[in-house]
Assembly symmetry: C2
Homo-oligomer: 450 residues x 2
């Protein structure tokens, strides 16, 4: 029986056992362990291994269904890592048994040629149809495997049919359709069980149906399922024909995805892949938002300059304070949001602290040096008289941004370690720390150089 | 059939119809409408009405189950509004049929005497037991209405039992227990349907059970349900005895609640009731976070002052810039986060713009005036020589904070109106707007007064 000895403890035990078994080359034991382990847990084990160890462990999953399940649970980054090294025959087997909506989800992460290459393994599969729908719509996230029967079917026959099913994800409802496939009503599994065998579905079904269209946004689907406490919602095409269902577990994924997005947007982090190890991808997602506050900061410098009556070097120095502190504050908030959200969803774990810190320092260094050069250029252009000022502001903004990235990553990690809530570590608390460090080192650099 | 003509359109239609029927005193028609409407939708209707209209509409819900359902869906604020005006007899009927976890949820919002008063109506109900568990644990959010049978029960008998059930929320699983009530296994409804009638549950059940303890944190429960795609998770006490279940719809509520909390914490807004109309409650939640950046800002002023070589009045003015801009930025981010999150969860609607703006202006005015007085005092204390400076900084911080609260509320609303994503409106974009406005009006006030 699995109780929550906190799930991450379970993860640790499983990962450590796996690593031990790999070292001892105890393939048979490892295979036994994997057979007993849930696909979601296996995905975590694989994520925890070194990239070169992953394909060998994945190969041990003899059952194609299980292998497909694990592939689904893996992050895009992890998946990309070893799909290339898989034998074609094996890949075909795995992809063939994958649920169409999951297969879809997998395809989008790959470059176009690769996606086409993968598609050849599932020719004729209904998943090809799903690709016609736009991302983040009901059509895109639905599964075409639902359970529908005509109105005059008896409860007994329907029950009989359910017994024969293997492919349908989870049966909660029997959908009742007419000859054209139009949705007429819904019968819950419980209603089916609780009635006399000869009752036709027509007499059992509810005609008050909550349904969505293929083009309905996934956010709206989530809102409907949440509001009416549904287990699955039927998806209709323009003609009212039932083409798929969205189940509650997929809705939970949507809710988490949308929440992550909102949170990242709130801190101006764009849709960066949280789990991505790449400094470059991170930069591309975060830089556009920072450029907004960059322009704002420069406008503030000019306003301050032109409106000030007294134009000493110190006034100029002070004029640059908002942009230097603002940029550092924004970068720090971005780092903190990524860390807090990652810790909350479990995508980031405490032991990854060094990897994450390294990436954030990389992002910080790049942004810092770039901002420094740009700000020096700007200063030199607008205030050609003051020779050392460009150097001071360049050093200061660079030092502050790097420092903010580090503090933004470390403080939430520290809070997590102390079992405090990491989310508290961000917001005013973090910006205040960054502000004070910022003012201090700006003035110290100025003192030294001026 | 309900398709998503976007849910908020549905809300509007229902609300407008209700208002029309109230005006026409068409009680009978209104009652018919309510009978056909889902409890979640009725709660929205009631929320949309003026407070004095609400009790009369609620009274029209003849069915106690429906009335209890609506009460559950209402926000704490709305509920508090009319529970007092309800007749005791009616209240007793409604509370008696309420699901115990929902009743619990309702109790916490009331002051202690009121809670005890309410408890007297459900004497002997199992809900009293739930109160022993700490908030935000599995024991607290679980329902004690589950469906458990001994190991030697046949599938046929189990099916028979399900038919007789009315009280159990949603049956997804049959829990198999021993004589002491210890959980031994789980049988899904589908397994039950798919087997021969005489099979004992012992032979059907899965013994690999995902379960939690009563003291497990709700976040951990949500993580387990999400990871393993469960529909319900059994809750055990210290002795392994099954005492309740947490269903997936409650887990979705937990996920949303935790996300809201995290987002509010990220912007330093604490656990403010989003939907609360009270300026005072808002202030109490937000002020502690702001005081952190307040202290930081003052430290920055002093650092700047003591480290600057050149001490003109303009340097002093510049020294106050970070605290003035920082405080305004924080207040603006708080307002924006509340608005963005409220719009996302549907707790705030566009038409409430004036009410929300008024509240935020109230919060802004209070924080602004308070900050202004405090900052003036501080300035006067530390820089007694400069007579007008305290007045300038006081005016500036006050004006900026009020302005930031307004901008932080209006910009996300405007984005929503234009059908852009309101979340983009916050973060760097917002702080930049607030920064520029801040520098401008600070210097203008300084020019006028100095």
């Amino acid at each position: 029986m699995v109780t929550t000895r906190e799930l991450h403890e379970l993860d640790n035990i499983l990962l450590n056992t796996t690593i031990k078994l790999i070292k001892r080359r105890a393939t048979h034991n490892l295979q036994n362990l994997l057979n007993k382990t849930h696909v979601a847990d296996i995905a975590r084990i694989i994520h925890g291994l070194r990239p070169e160890e992953r394909p060998a462990v994945y190969e041990l999953l003899a059952d194609a269904d299980k292998a497909a399940g694990v592939l689904k649970e893996l992050s895009a980054e992890d998946r990309l890592g070893f799909i290339d090294s898989m034998k074609e025959e094996r890949l075909a087997k795995v992809l063939q048994v994958m649920a169409p909506d999951d297969f879809n989800d997998l395809l989008v992460d790959f470059p176009d040629e690769k996606a086409e290459y993968l598609l050849q393994f599932v020719k004729g599969a209904p998943s090809e149809d799903l690709l016609q729908y736009e991302e983040k719509t009901a059509g895109y996230i639905m599964t075409p495997h639902f359970f529908a029967l005509p109105e005059d079917t008896t409860a007994e026959y329907a029950t009989q049919k359910i017994r024969e099913l293997i492919d349908v994800e989870m049966v909660f409802y029997v959908y009742v359709v007419d000859d054209l496939g139009k949705l007429k009503g819904v019968v819950s599994l419980r209603q089916l069980v609780a009635t006399r065998p000869q009752t036709p579905l027509r007499d059992l079904m509810t005609t008050k149906i909550y349904s969505v269209n293929t083009f309905t946004e996934q956010e709206e689907v989530a809102r409907m399922v949440t509001r009416y406490n549904l287990l699955a919602v039927p998806v209709l095409d323009e003609d009212g024909i039932l083409v798929g269902i969205v189940t509650v577990d997929d809705v939970i994924d949507v809710i988490r995805e949308e929440n992550t997005e909102d949170m990242l947007k709130l801190s101006g982090t764009g849709e960066v892949a949280l789990e991505s190890k790449s400094v470059w991808k991170n930069l591309r997602a975060r830089a556009p938002w920072l450029s907004v506050s960059w322009i704002g900061g420069l406008i503030a410098v000019l306003i301050l300059y032109y409106l000030s009556a007294d134009l000493t070097q110190w006034i100029l120095l002070a004029a640059f304070l908002p942009i230097i502190m603002g940029m550092a504050g924004n970068v720090g908030t971005q780092s903190a949001t990524i860390t807090v959200r990652g810790l909350a969803t479990g995508e980031i774990q405490l032991k990854e602290i060094w990897r994450l810190l390294l990436r954030e320092l990389g992002v910080g260094a790049f942004l810092g040096i770039f901002s420094g050069l740009l700000l020096a250029g700007f200063t030199w252009l607008f205030f050609p008289g003051v020779t050392l000022l460009p150097i001071v502001v360049a050093f200061a903004i660079c030092a502050n941004i790097i420092c903010a990235a580090a503090v933004g990553t470390l403080v939430p990690m520290l809070f997590q370690r102390l079992r405090w809530d990491p989310a508290i570590a961000t917001g005013p608390f973090l910006t205040t720390v960054i502000d004070i460090i910022g003012v201090l080192d700006y003035l110290l650099i100025a003192r030294i150089l001026l």
